[in-house]
């Protein structure tokens, strides 16, 4: 019996040592965003009028992130949850669905932005089922997302954020102009990319870049590459004389690294910020800078 007592005491001590601080006394309505990118967009659109929290930490792969118990409970305090949807938050979907069932208002903003199927010029038929969740790679869609979110915040909380949303929307439209101009500096015949997973569909579409292929044959980082896919990619690289593969900082690029070694000439693996914002000092701390940095790296390496 005494060992149970000891055990209980040990656990109690461990437990109390981990006990954290409670919630702060913030009266503003709470909006919770799933990804760091959505969090930044919502925070900028809303200004100081609402309190914005983000579930995923900087650098997390949105396909894999699993929430803690506290975060799942916190969802129930939110006036609005802004999620990307389209299956992006793979390990978070059920948690969000359950919160919605409990009466939390959820907007899956990606699903409202005319998502496109995952199609690739190189791919056989099986790679084309399912929609591409990476809608934020197209600034014009994000501009629309700002409006949609602002409407939803207004109806959910009664707080009108249309002024700050309009100002942020204008900045995103500027970003779009800037990216367009930067991409135009690349000769048209060199505007073609190979990426690690299918995350650049919307970007390529918007800015007239041809997507030659992806290392992972899906819109998620969880899929695996078959031997034939891999061999086909090596051929493709050599045939098109592509010397760069674009990966993401939030996902492993070991296959892309191997691919770079398989090809008979030097191939660089350039890591872009796509699924998550970057750490402080990375130059990708917010959505606009992230897109700017990615575009700069793309333009420099094409």
């Amino acid at each position: 019996m005494e060992r149970f007592v000891v055990l209980t005491v040990v656990l109690a001590i461990v437990g109390s040592a981990c006990s954290g601080a409670g919630a702060g006394g913030d009266d503003r309505p709470l909006v919770i965003a799933t990804t760091t990118i959505l969090g930044d967009v919502v925070a900028n659109a809303a200004g100081d009028a609402v309190q914005v929290e983000v579930l995923m930490p900087v650098g997390a792969d949105p396909h894999d992130f699993a929430p803690s118990a506290r975060q799942a409970a916190r969802l129930r305090d939110a006036a609005l949850v802004v999620a990307n949807g389209i299956g992006l938050e793979g390990a978070l979907l059920d948690v969000i669905d359950a919160a919605e069932q409990d009466g939390v208002l959820v907007i899956r903003v990606g699903e409202l932005l005319s998502p496109k199927p995952v199609v690739a010029a190189w791919a056989s038929e099986e790679a084309s089922n399912g929609l591409d969740p990476h809608v934020w790679m197209d600034p014009l869609r994000v501009a629309e997302a700002v409006d949609l979110t602002a409407d939803r915040v207004h109806s959910a909380t009664g707080v009108d954020i249309s002024d700050s949303a309009a100002a942020y929307r204008a900045r995103i439209l500027d970003l779009h102009e800037e990216i367009t101009l930067m991409i135009e500096t690349v000769p048209a015949e060199r505007r073609k990319m190979i990426t690690n997973h299918f995350s650049f569909g919307y970007y390529a579409d918007r800015y007239g870049i041809k997507l030659l292929g992806t290392v992972i044959p899906a819109a998620t980082t969880g899929a695996e590459t078959s031997a034939a896919d891999f061999a086909a990619l090596v051929d493709l690289l050599e045939q098109e004389r592509v010397s760069v593969i674009f990966g993401s900082t939030a996902e492993p690029t070991s296959l892309a690294d191997t691919l770079a070694e398989e090809v008979g000439y030097e191939v660089k693996v350039v890591k872009l910020y796509t699924g998550s914002l970057g750490e402080v000092g990375s130059g990708a701390e917010n959505y606009i800078d992230m897109m700017r940095l990615s575009t700069r790296l793309i333009v420099e390496n094409l």
């Binding site: 975060q71 799942a72 099986e126 695996e224």
Partner: protein, 279 residues
Amino acid sequence: MEWLTDPLSEPFMQRVLVGSALAVMTASLIGTWIVLRGLGFMGDALAHGVTPGIALAFAFGFNLTLGAIAAAGFMTLGINLVHRKARLREDTGIGLLFVGMLALGVVIMSRLPSFSSSLATILFGDTLGIRRGDIVVQALAAAVTLTVILVFYRAFLVLSFNEEKAEMLGLRPGLAHLVMLSLLTLAIVTSFRTVGTLLVFALIVAPPATASLVVRRVPTMMVTAVAFGFLAVVSGLLISWHADTAAGATMAGVSVAIFFVVLALREVSSKARLPGAQH
């Protein structure tokens, strides 16, 4: 006590707690027999081997639980077949089916682009995505498990300690074995949504193993196992809350950690009681 009351005062957390507690109860009750009979490897293999069933069920729009049950049944038959036809020891058959099924699961998922995003959910579960309907299923599974164990108690007991004698007593060891595997399957398929196929096995084996360190009699062992299971679920959830860790993995990890803590405490206390004695 705020560290305890704060998280557990949330209705949502209470639901997670009840769901996980029911899952661990089902798992620990049948797990006790799995540990007693040394069927750990079989349990582990079944837990992982249901993956292709779930993947296929998803692909063709069937109920995921039915897919898991079908895969478990297929596996059990396959293991039996290898054991009898190839005249190999049972663990070889289990190993073959285990990796074969797991590989098949990953292959299926890699051909389903829209599906692979929930691979993480299948493997690690979604304790925090538990809904009211899930609780009903968990409660039913726990009730069925408890009832069947009570009905088959004598058969299970003889099967575990003296299989030959079971035949003589007319307790039909073959049937008892099948019932036991069915309960194991039930525990796996009803809790894969909570803790995932990769982690559900922790809840099947760790609490009964811990219980076996401190008690001897089978009924006490089952009760103690359920108690250790509850402890793992509660402390796992609290740690997930306070340390911001993934809930399902924390619970599974804690259940194993408790085993080693109890083992260490037992060693320390037996040394203290019998100074210098051989143990």
